[in-house]
């Protein structure tokens, strides 16, 4: 532990309002994990409703409140609230804060040899703004009319006329966006300015590269969403008509508004953010997986430079594909042609990243520990998710698939068994750095295998449902003749989802048990090469006892002529 402190900070400065990037990283990670648990529970409620439409949920059904689930039966409005909030929580309060706020904050400064982030106070502020945004989001369940219920995309005009919860959602989003913006400025400055001597961009661990590009995406893509949010807020609170067309009829009456607005404008602003946002979800995952694969195959990453270039290109292209989410709004064929072409182009760098990692396995002496298992599973899972994206990117196929369960299957494969598996891999991998103890391997493997089986059980059937034409956001699919043949799959998914929930129990036990009772290890238990592993575990305030210098690239494993099979970046050695 950090015993060399002349003055100890009081508890609240050290653990609550801390400016140390490591404490903030852990705060982010734990908050995000809790939100993800909440998101998972919401999903289970929805899954029950889909498998057993309009039947009371045994046990917890009565806890949901008379207004939401009278007699334990989820009402359609409440189902919509759960849907919208599940998406919002998972993306904006779970995965991104864990991947960027958690891992980025904790690992990135260590990997570049910095004592902290460039703006520690700003860093603390990002976390607390995020926290308040999250609390606002959750609190919206208790306002009149309940939480937002127009999907995580909040399309107007529906969202404009939704109940008060939507206003709260927008305010919450403004907090979350602000937090991301502050964070991304901090990341960019830190990576550009605080690298130690010798750590050139060509020697930067891929994880840092991924965080760097991600920060640019956050910095430049979030403001247009903020615009969308502000304008929708104006529509709702000031009764403007930015997104409201003239002559809109609701419940048989023409709405008394100025009109003249354009609902499509919202979709453009939204997807201008939200497509880059999907790369915000995936790039840090690639960063984590790359570190783990290099370390556990004991060999350099295949095509590191190509991967870096692909990532830069990906970041750039991600601003040019947004309207592939909008093929069905009636855009001209020229427009749709443009976005089909850019979408096909952007899948190339994604495939490059995946292929490089796959080829990195070739001839490696692979160590199958828990982090590596999660990292290995990430590869085919992301591949399924990415490949199913291609038909969606082609307007002809998308006419059939848009807004069906196929889309749900597609993006969940990239985000859940993709990104979330990578995040689990990262937790198992860097846990010894944060606590000085490794997580239990047996529990880890139980967690891994059950999660892998169940998560595929949850998402694979969705492709079949989607191909059969079943729409997303249905409260009771059995009301549609074409959805009835695939209804048994919903029952199957429910069991798989419950299994997935149960599979997290070994993880939760492992997490807390290992933090206090796990096996103690030295600073570099995986015998990895990057700088974070020369710092003490856990690193003290200021991170390194002596500022390191860097002499070589990040993945010098099994270098011929070296006595060890790993060569630390900070090891001067002979050339």
């Amino acid at each position: 532990m950090s015993g060399d402190h002349a003055h100890e900070l009081p508890f609240w400065r050290k653990h609550i309002f801390s400016v140390d990037h490591k404490t903030i990283g852990v705060q982010y990670a734990i908050t995000a994990l809790l939100f993800m648990l909440v998101g998972l529970l919401m999903m289970l409620i929805m899954r029950w409703q889909l498998a057993n439409p309009a039947q009371a949920i045994p046990g917890i059904g009565n806890l949901l409140g008379e207004a939401n689930a009278p007699g334990g039966v989820v009402l359609p409005d409440f189902y919509n609230q759960l849907g919208a909030m599940h998406g919002t929580i998972m993306i904006f309060l779970g995965v991104v804060p864990l991947a960027v706020g958690g891992f980025g904050n904790y690992v990135m400064p260590l990997q570049i040899g910095a004592p902290d982030m460039a703006f520690p106070k700003l860093n603390m502020m990002s976390y607390w703004v995020y926290f308040v945004g999250g609390v606002i989001m959750l609190a919206s369940f208790w306002v009149t009319g309940g939480a937002a219920q127009s999907g995580w995309t909040s399309y107007p005009p529906l969202a404009n006329i939704a109940s008060f919860g939507q206003t709260i959602w927008l305010i919450g989003m403004i907090f979350l966006i602000t937090s991301s913006l502050l964070g991304s400025v901090n990341f960019i400055v830190t990576i550009l300015h605080l690298r130690v001597e010798g750590l050139t961009f060509a020697r930067l661990p891929f994880f840092v590269w991924a965080q760097f590009i991600t920060s640019f995406l956050l910095l430049l893509a979030f403001p247009p969403l903020e615009v969308a949010g502000i304008l929708q807020l104006a529509d709702r609170v000031l009764h403007t008509s930015f997104f409201m067309p003239s002559g809109l009829v609701i419940s048989g009456e023409v709405l008394d508004i100025a009109g003249g607005g354009n609902p499509l404008l919202y979709q453009h602003l939204f997807w201008f953010l939200a497509h880059p946002e999907v790369y915000v979800l995936i790039l840090p995952a690639f960063g984590i997986v790359t570190e783990i694969i290099a370390c556990n195959t004991r060999k350099p990453i295949y095509g590191y430079k190509t991967m870096v270039n692909a990532t830069i290109f990906l970041g750039f292209m991600s601003f040019l594909v947004w309207a592939h989410h909008m093929y069905l709004v009636g855009m001209s064929t020229k427009m749709s042609m443009f976005f089909q072409i850019t979408t096909m182009i952007i899948s190339i760098p994604s495939v490059i990243l995946l292929t490089s990692l796959l080829l990195s396995l070739w001839g490696g002496a692979i160590r199958y520990n828990t982090p590596m298992l999660f990292a290995l599973a990430f590869l085919p899972m992301f591949a399924i998710g990415g490949l199913t994206g291609l038909p969606l990117g082609l307007a002809g196929a998308d006419i059939h698939l848009h807004d069906t369960y196929y889309v749900i299957g597609h993006f969940h494969y990239v985000v859940a068994p993709g990104t979330i598996f990578a995040l689990f891999a990262g937790i198992y991998f860097w846990f010894p750095k944060v606590t000085g103890r490794v997580m239990n391997e047996t529990l880890g493997k139980i967690h891994f295998f059950f999660s892998l089986i169940c998560i595929n059980g949850v998402f694979m059937p969705m492709f079949m449902q989607g191909l059969a034409g079943v729409s997303r956001r249905l409260w009771d699919p059995t009301q549609y003749a074409h959805a009835q043949p695939t209804q048994p799959l919903n029952v199957f998914i429910l069991y798989a989802a419950i299994g997935l929930g149960l599979a997290q129990i070994p993880f939760i036990i492992n997490f807390f048990w290992s933090a206090f009772k796990g096996k103690q290890v030295d600073n570099n238990p995986w015998q990895a090469t990057t700088l974070e592993w020369i710092a003490p575990s856990p690193p003290p305030h200021g991170n390194f006892s002596k500022v390191p210098s860097v002499y070589r690239g990040p993945y010098e494993y099994s270098v011929p002529g070296q006595s060890d099979d790993f060569w630390l970046q900070s090891d001067e050695g002979k050339k």
Partner: protein
């Protein structure tokens, strides 16, 4: 020894040539460009969608007051530069004078703006009247928020924040420069807003 020493707080980075805070403020401005870029795109889309129904700004808005406000903001940008320049030649008193002027001009801008808004409200003109007023109020309103933000920062640097000058003059000058960049950006936004909303 493990006290965190963060590099490039006062000394520029050899490659980028700027300090942390200056790089940070440039990144922040980049995101602000995207914010106002989104708003200007919205304006263009709404206007092209409305066709001939869209009013001409000068028929509805108070151009003389807005011109006055343009002058005020440009002047405040100049006094902001003078404040920074005074520090470079080590004249702390002059800095205080110019910074006070900058703050006062910012306040003057807000007062003029509130007259303008007030006159609209008197005639029962609110954002909900039509999309022209909607975008007018939202864009100028967001700009006003940015002015208020700048004022708070400048006021801080004028009063309690100026103690740093005696401890770490380089770092203090860096802060003034960063605040100045932001202030010029707010000024620049207005310079785009003025013709777009009031004249065209």
């Amino acid at each position: 020894m493990s006290e965190a020493v963060i590099k490039h707080i006062a000394d520029p980075h050899p490659v980028t040539g700027v300090t942390n805070s200056k790089l940070g403020i440039w990144c922040f401005i980049a995101s602000e460009v995207m914010l106002f870029g989104g708003l200007f795109s919205t304006y263009i889309l709404l206007r092209t969608g409305a066709g001939a129904d869209w009013p001409i700004g000068s028929d509805l808005l108070n151009v003389p007051l807005a011109t006055l406000n343009t002058m005020i903001l440009i002047t405040s940008s100049i006094t902001m530069v003078m404040a920074w320049a005074s520090l470079t030649i080590n004249k702390f008193g002059a800095y205080k004078k110019y910074m006070t002027l900058t703050v006062l001009l910012g306040v003057a801008f807000l007062i003029v703006k509130s007259f303008e808004y007030g006159m609209k409200f008197e005639h029962h003109i609110y954002p909900s009247k039509n999309n022209f007023y909607a975008i007018y109020f939202v864009m100028t309103g967001l700009h006003v928020l940015h002015v208020i933000g700048g004022l708070v920062v400048n006021l801080y640097l004028l009063l309690p924040g100026s103690k740093l000058w005696h401890k770490a003059p380089e770092q203090f000058m860096g802060r003034i420069e960063a605040a100045g960049l932001y202030w010029h950006f707010v000024d620049l936004v207005w310079i785009f807003l003025f013709p777009t909303l009031y004249l065209l």
